[in-house]
């Protein structure tokens, strides 16, 4: 774990430039929070949370908490609100929840199953995970289980070439569970540390495709003990409230252990993860902040709150 952390801090340094764009300096938030706490500020705060896609339920919960503290006189200054929000969100995502689950030593490769709806950013996110693990000197193997979308396997292969890792693939239109099976065998035979499985984008409303996902998971679980150690749901940061349904439905087919919040480098705040955390037990593990494989960061509730209020 220590190794993992030091690697992450390295990645963080490399990201300094992105971070300037992504995470505003807290001082920039001052105009908003430097005011006296009053009903008007609370209303504005509510609008901000809603604009960040936090959703009506989770927003109400946070605002009710602030309003109660304001009424009882516990909170009087705007900046206390920021402290309050950070504390609440940190409590939502304890640090141990945010790290990657790794297979115990000697028990074979760690398997990461990557899922999500069409266009969420699965393949790019996989390239990022792959780069991160490679920087920790892990031997990574990729499984191209998106046998449906034209060009999907090729897309993963191009990334694998650039990152210097091997891809296990099958026939276009073939059974993705069979590819997953082959990939598990190959991962064991080649003594890979981590196997990352790319799956086809699927809408959570498509029963047969959700069952197919369940099948991939079962196949993997049978091949490698304790696998998949991590089942990540890649969410587009621009997602609205429907992402909550995605989290629920995907979890039914293959229990989701974490969210990879992709495309957080735009103007979207990704507040939907708050709604998801409030309704389920799914933590956010990583955020994607750009197009290059190095644009990955561990999820940090502090920065997340800051970014939510940056304009």
């Amino acid at each position: 774990m220590a190794l993992f952390k030091s690697a992450m801090s390295k990645i963080k340094q490399g990201l300094a430039k992105t971070r300037d764009v992504l995470f505003m300096d807290v001082r920039d938030l001052v105009p908003f929070f430097a005011r006296k706490l009053d009903d008007e500020l609370i209303n504005e705060l509510e609008t901000r949370l809603l604009k960040a896609d936090v959703g009506t339920l989770a927003t109400k919960r946070l605002i009710d908490g602030i309003r109660a503290d304001y009424k009882s006189g516990k909170m009087t200054r705007g900046e206390e609100v920021l402290v309050y929000l950070k504390r609440e969100l940190k409590a939502m995502w304890p640090e141990q929840d945010r790290s990657l689950h790794i297979a115990p030593p000697g028990s074979g490769p760690t398997v990461i199953l990557v899922t999500g709806v069409n266009g969420a950013g699965k393949t790019t996110s996989i390239a990022k995970l792959c780069a991160m693990l490679r920087s920790q000197d892990k031997k990574v193997l990729l499984a191209a289980c998106d046998t449906f979308r034209a060009g999907a396997v090729r897309q993963l292969e191009i990334w694998a070439d650039r990152l210097g890792v091997e891809v296990i693939k099958g026939q276009q239109g073939g059974d993705p569970a069979a590819v997953a099976f082959d990939a598990c065998k190959a991962a064991i035979a080649r003594a890979a540390d981590v196997l990352i499985i790319d799956t086809a984008g699927r809408l959570h409303t498509q029963d047969p495709l959700m069952r197919q996902l369940g099948k991939i998971r079962t196949v993997v679980a049978k091949q490698i003990e304790g696998a998949p150690h991590e089942t990540l749901l890649v969410l587009d940061a621009t997602s609205g409230q429907n992402a909550l349904r995605q989290a629920e439905e995907f979890s039914k087919a293959a229990p989701i252990t974490g969210v990879f919040l992709a495309k957080l480098d735009g103007t979207a705040k990704g507040g939907i993860v708050v709604a998801i955390r409030a309704a389920t037990s799914i933590p956010v593990k990583f955020v994607g902040v750009g197009e290059t494989p190095d644009d990955i960061e561990p999820f940090d509730p502090d920065q997340f709150v800051d970014a939510m209020f940056a304009t």
Partner: protein
């Protein structure tokens, strides 16, 4: 959601108990529910505030309370305002609203080629939508060239090439679908900026040479805050002068829709919007936000993985969906695709005489199944959608029903009520079902056909009422997978009646 809205309004008007007209104070609480409904549907906060304010002003002073169901009338106002906001005409009947655009939704210029440019964020579905538009045009006899102008995403060129071949090979229609791409020009993201302009120009020259009707440019997905790539898009725009620029928007997008739609619209004027991934269960409020900031009409919605899964946009349908009212318009359309008016009339006549046979039932069942998965269809019914959330409906149960009917002789199919034990046993063996299942089906068929006979003379409202009662007594259990369907006997569906009768009133 819709239930919550109806209940909210109903309780407000119960308090008023028929006196006076609506005042701001007494609907304000109910409007809070409308606000939440719209926010939960991902409509942008600012748009929601402006909208609820307008509806309030619209409602205040109206003598809605004199009507029998003021709550429904209020929802009617909300619905109509939403339709307007989405660019539709609330006074149109479903038939009028469904009339296809004469140009198939895509304007054509002469001499060709008509140039269509697709743009949007990463992962919104541009490449798939290009294929769908090509299939849409091919069906209308117009030749298409798909140009791969996405040199950023790995394998995007290959993907479009495959899609073009697929449409040319599998999609109905006689016209040719061409592909133009220069895969060797692709590079890592952000490395080949500006190259797309020349690729598009060469594609245009090629399209002219081949005499293609429509050239569709599949540009790379880009963030609206990436100045360099937005600049490239502007370059393509000024070099090619596309006749139509479509902004492709994921229907599951949240509040950020206003930001990127605005940025795209400012950089290159957007002429139309295409909503994708509409076959998810998203309410799609982003459509309103996008329409609001660009003013551009929403032209198409993508509703599935298949190349034919592209529909023209209908404001009424969208408004109903945002409010969670179900989608009667879509249901009517789907049914019409499968059943001609004559067929429908013939069946109704048979039902009236009590002559409906198991064969007719089987034919109807098959028609129903051609319309799509049962769960999806039931979800279109007002008030049923949300109730279905956790109900698992397996269409395989219908296979069993079909198998049972198939194991009957023609005579048995005509009079399933007269099955004796030995016949039941034979049918059960033949279809692999249990003997009780055969008996049950026969009995339920009997009940339903009797009801159908009675219903034949009723007006629309009475029919819906009868169907609802059937839901709790017999019809629901006819399909083993959908027993005790909550919505069918619930109060939510009453709105369908009022909507339908409203349409009727307006037609006169």
């Amino acid at each position: 959601m819709f239930e919550r809205l109806s209940d909210g309004f109903a309780s407000v008007f119960r308090k008023l108990s028929g006196k006076g007209s609506i005042s701001e104070g007494n609907v304000r609480d109910a409007m809070t529910d409308v606000r939440s409904a719209l926010l939960d549907a991902d409509v942008h906060v600012d748009v929601v505030e402006a909208f609820t304010q307008r509806v309030l002003e619209d409602a205040v002073g109206r003598e809605v309370t004199k009507s029998l169901k003021p709550g429904e009338e209020m929802i009617g106002i909300v619905h109509d305002r939403l339709v307007e906001l989405l660019g539709g005409d609330p006074a149109q009947s479903p038939e009028e609203a469904l009339a296809p655009a004469p140009d198939g939704g895509i304007m054509q210029v002469s001499p060709g080629p008509t140039i269509v440019m697709m743009c949007g964020l990463q992962g919104s579905g541009k490449t798939t939508t290009c294929g769908k538009l090509a299939a849409h045009l091919k069906k209308r006899g117009r030749s298409v060239m798909l140009c791969a102008a996405d040199l950023q995403r790995p394998a995007a060129v290959e993907q479009l090439h495959t899609v073009a071949e697929q449409v040319q090979r599998d999609s109905p229609g006689g016209a040719q679908v061409h592909f133009y791409g220069e895969p060797d020009k692709s590079a890592a993201y952000g490395k080949a900026v500006g190259v797309a302009v020349q690729v598009c120009q060469r594609a245009l020259a090629e399209a002219r040479k081949k005499g293609v009707d429509t050239l569709i440019l599949d540009t790379a997905g880009r963030l609206h805050i990436n100045a360099e790539l937005m600049g490239e898009l502007a370059q393509v725009n000024s070099a090619l002068r596309p006749h139509q620029v479509f902004l492709v928007v994921d229907a599951m997008t949240g509040q950020d829709a206003v930001n990127f739609a605005k940025a795209f619209h400012e950089q290159i004027e957007v002429d139309g919007i295409i909503l994708t991934k509409f076959d998810s269960d998203t309410r799609g409020g982003a459509a309103i936000s996008v329409k609001h900031v660009t003013g551009a009409p929403i032209r198409f919605v993508g509703v599935g993985e298949k190349m034919e899964a592209l529909e023209e946009f209908h404001a009424q349908r969208m408004a109903g969906r945002i409010l969670g009212m179900g989608d009667v318009v879509s249901l009517v359309e789907k049914a019409r695709e499968q059943v001609s008016d004559e067929e429908a009339a013939a069946i109704e006549a048979k039902m009236a005489k009590g002559e409906m046979s198991m064969d007719d039932f089987l034919a109807q069942l098959r028609t129903l199944r051609r319309m799509g998965p049962l769960k999806q269809l039931l979800g279109l019914l007002p008030g049923v959608g949300s109730a279905l959330k956790d109900v698992h409906i397996d269409d395989k149960h219908l296979d069993r029903v079909e198998a049972i009917v198939h194991s009957m002789t023609p005579q048995e199919r005509r009079r399933p009520g007269e099955l004796n034990n030995s016949r039941r046993r034979r049918i059960a063996t033949g279809s692999g079902a249990k003997q009780e299942e055969v008996g049950q089906l026969a009995k339920q068929f009997d009940v339903v056909s009797k009801m159908a006979k009675q219903m034949a003379g009723m007006n629309a409202a009475a029919k819906v009422k009868a169907v609802k009662e059937m839901g709790s007594s017999g019809m629901g259990s006819m399909f083993p997978g959908v027993q005790n369907l909550p919505g069918l006997s619930g109060k939510g569906s009453s709105h369908m009646v009022s909507l339908k009768s409203k349409f009727k009133k307006r037609k006169k």
